[in-house]
């Protein structure tokens, strides 16, 4: 059966190569490495043209030619046999590269197939192959190579074979672990479900994702092989019929170059080896950066200096705990248009109040919440607006002053954090650590009691306190995160999508927990979610965001029973309502705007069923409706007033 997909057009490969080159260019060291290797390649390929003298030419050599210092005739001097060092160096590049490439080829074939087979087929294959690999790995390569080469006839062919046959172990391990990782991905299961054969899966799905690793590994194996050959030659086990750089070193060393002060005979081949190994290592690193990029983690770095020091602006509303005024946040990146992630968002929060923040993925919910405590990643900048907490403007506080408020005044249950608990420490330990870190003055002897109390608050029993995170279910891990957030008795808790990956029953439990906590402790809660149903069950008021702006903001009853913004209305229609089963759902065609390329007018205009001309050219302002703090950003609202 033929197994490859034949429609891999040349275009695809070409554009992939182009993209690859574009990103490779950015890694400075990789490009340097590449150029270093190209220099050696040119030397090797065009050796007869470059070298001023023939390979190992001993014609017309007299005793006076031995160890001649560098001169116009012999740029790098002559060696022990009176030969031109530069010419020998140029031809030596051929030997080094030959050994490197062929030995690496052997290693990669063996290591690659061992790794692939072990990783993909698992079971007995894996056990035996990996055990063999482990044994090979503990045997030190170089001494064994030395022994074998010493016992066989030292020809270049034998050297290549031995280096190749011994150098595959790391490749096997790396390829196996990458294969395992790829194999566990869902698209492999999907391919099996389609009925794809094993060879088909390996060729079309595993190999393309293992290949990058293999390329990086290949570069490293080449450099190792070159180094091994040089070592062998240097200790006199090289092929006497070819002159490699190691061989040159060996002769120079053994035949009195040092005592004759002929440093050039040692330095030139030595530098050649350093040059090629360094070049390959740099190239390998560069390739690794492009082919195997580590994902940019969401670093929680405090954002830069506060915008303005003047504390002239005052909160507009009295009796509010928390007030956000016209907050705008941009993500800036070198050479990229700034992403307007949040624009002009305002809201207020009273003690014990529960606000829902709703919107689609990427609409800026997390960004807004992180900005409240200035925890944005370094690219994120507050470009406008104020955040008042108990009358203080958080955007103009110093880092130390803000630390007093983080966790104690306002604490955050970060999105996805329940999956980021440290797997090797018990949950109790991790909560203890949180208490000690954020409440350093807390009496040490009372901490265990405090931890138990916190866990109890969220419904985790004392006997589960010393369990590890993997012994907890998703729901329990989320409870533990909430317990951590409660460590310093905050006034406000921000919960970023705390129920998103959980089952409906567990969701209901977490919601009940948050609701009880606010009643018991008088907490104000900001509940971030994309699920309108949950908000209706729980919240007092709702902020609906779309593409970084406030679409609508009102009390919960108004949002559900008298929504004014078309986005809110459409979102409600898309929500399945079991009180009216058998009703067809309506969806909102299209998808949210890219924040670095926003439409000129209303951000919802491309998807809005009610859009008219003005919407495409002019951004709607926030309009208030009636007098009970109901606002919406839509031209229609203005028109109807």
């Amino acid at each position: 059966m033929q197994t490859t997909l034949q429609n891999t057009s040349p275009n695809k490969t070409a554009s992939q190569l182009f993209n690859f080159w574009e990103s490779f260019k950015k890694s400075g060291t990789g490009v340097v490495g590449l150029y270093m290797i190209i220099v050696i390649l040119i030397l090797a390929i065009f050796a007869p043209l470059i070298a001023p003298y023939d390979e190992s030419s001993t014609a017309n050599v007299g005793i006076s030619d031995i160890y001649q210092p560098p001169s116009a005739q012999h740029w790098f001097g002559t060696d022990d046999a009176g030969q031109d060092v530069f010419s020998n160096f140029v031809y030596g590049a051929r030997v080094s590269l030959t050994v490197g490439f062929f030995a690496a080829f052997i290693s990669l074939i063996i290591g690659g197939s061992f790794g692939l087979i072990a990783g993909f087929f698992g079971g007995r294959w894996e056990t035996s192959l990996m055990r063999f690999t482990d044994i090979m790995l503990v045997i030190p390569d170089l001494p064994l190579t030395v022994v074998i080469v010493a016992l066989t006839k030292p020809s270049l062919f034998n050297i290549i074979l031995v280096i190749g046959l011994l150098g595959w172990t790391t490749t096997a391990r790396v390829v196996r672990s990458q294969t395992l990782a790829v194999k566990s991905r869902k698209f492999i299961l999907r391919a099996r479900a389609i009925g794809a054969s094993k060879p088909h899966i390996v060729i079309n799905h595993i190999l393309p994702l293992v290949m990058p690793i293999l390329v990086v590994q290949g570069v490293l194996v080449i450099s190792l092989a070159i180094l091994n050959e040089s070592t062998l030659s240097f200790i006199g086990l090289g092929d006497p019929s070819v002159l490699s750089w190691g061989q040159m070193l060996n002769y120079a060393f053994g035949r009195g170059a040092l005592s004759s002060g002929a440093w050039w005979a040692l330095l030139v081949p030595g530098l050649g080896i350093v040059w090629i190994v360094l070049g390959l290592t740099l190239l390998g690193q560069g390739l690794e950066q492009v082919l195997n990029p580590r994902t940019d983690t969401h670093h929680l770095m405090p954002s830069r200096l506060p915008l303005s020091k003047e504390a002239l602006v005052k909160p507009l509303h009295q009796n509010t705990l928390f007030e956000v005024q016209n907050l705008s946040i941009h993500y800036v990146g070198e050479g990229k248009a700034p992403a307007h992630a949040v624009e002009d968002v305002s809201f207020t929060l009273k003690e014990g109040e529960l606000m829902g923040l709703v919107g689609e993925s990427g609409c800026g919910k997390t960004t807004l919440m992180l900005a409240l405590l200035r925890l944005l990643p370094s690219a994120g900048q507050i470009v406008n607006g104020k955040v008042f907490f108990k009358g203080k403007d958080l955007t103009s506080l110093s880092e130390e002053e803000l630390n007093e408020i983080r966790w104690r005044g306002i604490s955050i249950v970060f999105q996805g954090a329940m999956n980021a608990l440290n797997p090797v420490r018990t949950v109790g330990d991790q909560i203890t650590e949180a208490v000690m870190k954020h409440e350093p003055k807390f009496p040490k002897e009372n901490i265990p009691a405090r931890v138990t109390q916190l866990l109890e608050l969220v419904g985790i029993t004392a006997d589960q306190r010393d369990h590890f995170p993997h012994q907890y279910s998703g729901g329990m891990r989320q409870r533990a995160m909430i317990a951590m957030a409660l460590a310093c008795n905050p006034d406000v808790i921000i919960a970023d999508e705390p129920t998103t990956a959980l089952d409906v029953m567990i969701q209901a439990q977490i919601l009940e927990l948050l609701d009880n906590l606010r009643k018991k402790l008088g907490l104000a809660v900001i509940f971030v979610t994309h699920d309108l149903g949950i908000v209706a069950e729980l919240c007092d008021k709702v902020l609906v965001m779309y593409g970084g702006v406030t679409a609508e903001y009102a009390d919960v009853d108004t949002i559900y029973n008298n929504p004014k913004h078309p986005y809110t209305q459409e979102l409600l229609k898309a929500f399945p309502d079991l009180t009216k089963p058998k009703k067809k759902l309506s969806s909102i065609p299209g998808y949210p705007p890219r924040l670095d390329a926003l439409p000129a007018g209303c951000r919802f205009a491309p998807r809005c069923p009610a859009a008219f001309e003005r919407c495409h050219t002019e951004q709607p302002a926030l309009h208030s409706i009636g007098n009970n703090n109901h606002i919406a950003s839509c031209h229609l609202v203005e028109a109807s007033k």
Binding site: Q2, L5, N7, N11, K12, R185, K186, F187, L189, R190, A191, R192, A193, I194, G195, A196, S197, H200, N204, H205, P208, L209, E360, S361, S473, G474, G475, M476, D503, V504, M505, I506, Q507, A508, E512, H530, L532, G533, A536, E537, V556, D557, Y560, N561, L571, A574, P576, D577, L578, T579, P581, K582, K583, K584, L585, S586, S587, I588, P589, Y591
Partner: protein
Amino acid sequence: MSTEHFLEVQGLKKHFEAGRPALFSRDVQKVHAVDGVGFTLRRSEVIALVGESGCGKSTLALLLMGLEDPTAGTIKFEGQDITHLNDHERKDLRRKIQMVFQDPYESLNPTQTIEEIVTEPLVVHGFANVPDRRERVVKAMEDAGLKPAEVYMSRYPHELSGGQRQRVVIAAALVLEPEIILADEPVSMLDVSIRAEVINLLAELRITRQIAVIFITHDLGSVGFFADRVAVMYLGRIVEIGTMLEVLENPQHPYTKALISVIPVPNPRLRHERIILKGETPNPINVPSGCRFHPRCPVAIESCKASDPPMVTLSKTHQSACLLLVK
């Protein structure tokens, strides 16, 4: 062929070995992931399998797809026993039963173009060189709502939205003209605004292509309007099965009642008392005695600890396994 026997599952079990409780202990612990499931599926019918995580839904899906080998029970397709076919014998069947996975971000190979992804099933099944290969791919893509197909063909998965990726997965399933689509939580990773588009698509396909759908989900709310029947699973068993209306409007099993009560209703005026069960689905290694739901059941009686309730027939289409229903 009788439409009743399109797909017939009886007494299906899958027990995984979970290692030994102690180093030298003799008995191997077993995870009772699926523990006696039976139901039938008619042509172009939509059945929803509902239950919490850990109730065995996904294992059941893998069993039906032949990606796991059942411990006991039978699966019949069009009257033929397909329980223990090998890969070779299953090949033709794989064409007829296709699967859509939960996570559209993970179930597409990032190095393939959309065209390659949708074409792959044809290649695998030896239709790589049929003259209408391209038309088939285009039709599948357009039926899955990727219109016009040309716009998407040369793109890579990361250039599509979540809803569009799920459409690609569905297109790759449609290209083989299957008779059953098994969808395992196909919308739970998607935003609400695009969930409806995927559900509507599946609802359309059953009409335009007479495809039967097995829709696996933890959220009864998301299938409310388009499933014909619902089967509620708890700890490896079906505890209630009936038509959508029977189950939604007249749930009989205490677990079903609780599940329905916690479905969020998007209207604060309809906030109601919810039956929030304590704890979580127990570990399927130590299945509780008697009725397996008794430790969490809010209305359990004494006898629930000892006797395993039988399936009680409530109407021609409605059955439930609870001792309170035994007359």
